[in-house]
Symmetry: C2
Subunit: 331 residues, 2 copies
């Protein structure tokens, strides 16, 4: 069946983008060249941008609604890592000729679904043709009380290290999809792939940490625990010691790790967790536990901050685990 | 000569992007996942995004510094059209394997040059590989006193219409480059091509109009006078009557138009002017003239706002000029 060509830019805006902007009064119904976002006194605007390319960050045959939702969530996770409340996003799309209106409709449906889930709207953007690959770029904007944002710097020697949720699910889902590991249980496979496809930006946790001023430093884990904790250490001028047996693992990852202890490298060095890692005074332990209960989100204490540089990981016997310089390299 | 491969992402950030971010304290030296931009009470953040694709919006062989500068200026022109003061920009780059470090170095030099000229800095972004075309995306952020931004809506019947600078230079430069018109004088060719390659965002004019609350509506002309004035009319619920003999033209365009009166269509319908068109009470005429003198920028009164819809253009004899539905269609 021959696919219909995409309609023109004005039609695309009217059919797909203006409805997405309806959730943001600041978008001015996309009727002007720019959005107008009310600023509040004593706040800072938090701004982060990401590009996604078909064939690099997603596959052309991936479900368009999931591409859209993951794109949004990855950016919201950056806002979460700084403790920001999301305000909305701008998006540019470069679309090749083979993209169909059905693809775009499903892509927009994914955006609409997550806009509702996270209480945000489209603020503006641009759509253009490309002779190359589908290329998406998102700028997410958020807001935080001035001076309170969670930063990579600020961790102090003697702080403890906490991490939300579970680690390694997405990285092992990817290895399962590639046939590199074999998860026996179908429900476990579904769980892991869901974690890979649809990260949960920890916005409420980030905001709560900032409001209660509990954390000394923190960020979201996109490149793997060792890499991102390494960024925190580098910016804070400290070292981290992580105890492997304290890492929060889902049941499927636990099972895999029992069968093949070498998978600890994937758990520590793989990416796409989109959990938060943060440091705080050990005395904040009870307050953090209370926060975890309130948010119904597991928050595990996994190690401590020391003098020095870099991230070391110890096993239960106290022996150091060699982790290949972790982190997904984007380039 | 074999070109060296690009260094990795962290190296690229250190060599090219962190220096560009040094102009923006809000960029946090690109050490965190997002920028933190101080917000001021009673202001609005103005946000606009654009995507540029090699082979669509620029040619791979175009000078990289000019690609960078035009990209920035086009976005700054959107801020100018709303009367905003620019705060900075986020940028994502998807780069194919054939892009060399020399290309990137010259691209960054162009950004640095215009950052200095317009008093802005890089706030953040993302760099990724692409198997497709070089694709650039910029989100420009600006600031305006709350409730004062120049909008497309607001023009009233009886308002006069003004336009800054001269029209048609860039559109005729493009036709000259394509061999469709023949400009005899080498200096004139250089002038036109400079206007095409390096637009002048009218930031000071936009800000002055907003501060003095002189204009009722306005925007920058990127898609051609008729198209953009048409947007203003549509959003304001009015019509526009433009008198062709009042259009501000550079000497080279005047000469071309004298030789071929049909070029009026290119002047009215071509794009890339990046001048401002705005409406104001005719009583504001003297104040606008004073503003023009203060800014050393020509501002011409070209017509008036009427009841109805759409844009009509009349020649000196009072006859209507048919203008093909103007405006560069991005899609």
């Amino acid at each position: 069946m021959a696919e219909a060509k995409l309609p023109g830019e004005f039609e695309l805006i009217a059919r797909y983008f203006r409805p997405l902007a309806a959730a943001s009064p600041a978008a001015l119904a996309l009727g002007d060249d720019a959005a107008l976002i009310p600023a509040e006194a004593d706040t800072e605007i938090v701004a982060t941008a990401d590009a996604l390319v078909a064939g690099v960050h997603f596959l052309p045959e991936d479900p368009p609604d999931l591409i859209a939702r993951k794109m949004l969530r990855v950016n919201l996770s950056d806002l979460a890592g700084m403790g920001a409340r999301p305000l909305g996003y701008l998006m540019t799309l470069a679309l090749p000729g083979e993209v169909t209106e059905d693809w775009l409709r499903r892509f927009a449906e994914g955006l609409a679904q997550d806009q509702k889930e996270f209480g945000i709207g489209l603020l503006g953007g641009d759509t253009t043709r490309t002779p190359g690959r589908t290329t998406l770029s998102v700028t997410a904007l958020g807001q935080v009380r001035a001076g309170t944002a969670l930063r990579r710097k600020g961790a102090r020697i003697g702080d403890a290290i906490w991490v939300s949720g579970t680690l390694g699910d997405a990285a092992l889902a990817l290895r399962q999809l590639k046939g590199e590991v074999a998860v026996a249980d179908a429900a476990a496979v579904r769980f892991l792939i869901e974690r890979y496809r649809l990260p949960q930006p920890r916005l409420l946790l980030g905001q709560a940490l900032v409001e209660a001023r509990l954390a000394t430093a923190g960020l979201d884990i996109s490149d793997g625990l060792v890499a991102d904790l390494g960024h925190l250490c580098a910016q804070s001028g400290v070292a981290a010691l992580v105890e492997a047996q304290r890492l929060p693992l889902s049941a499927p990852v636990h099972t895999l790790l029992d069968l093949d202890p070498a998978l600890i490298g994937t758990i520590l060095g793989g990416g796409d967790d989109y959990e938060l890692v943060f440091t705080a005074d050990p005395a904040a332990s009870e307050a953090i536990d209370a926060l975890a209960r309130g948010l119904r989100l597991a928050i595990a204490r996994i190690g401590c901050i020391e003098a020095g540089t870099g991230v070391r990981v110890r096993d239960a016997a106290g022996c150091e685990i060699a982790v290949e310089r972790g982190g997904y390299r984007h380039f």
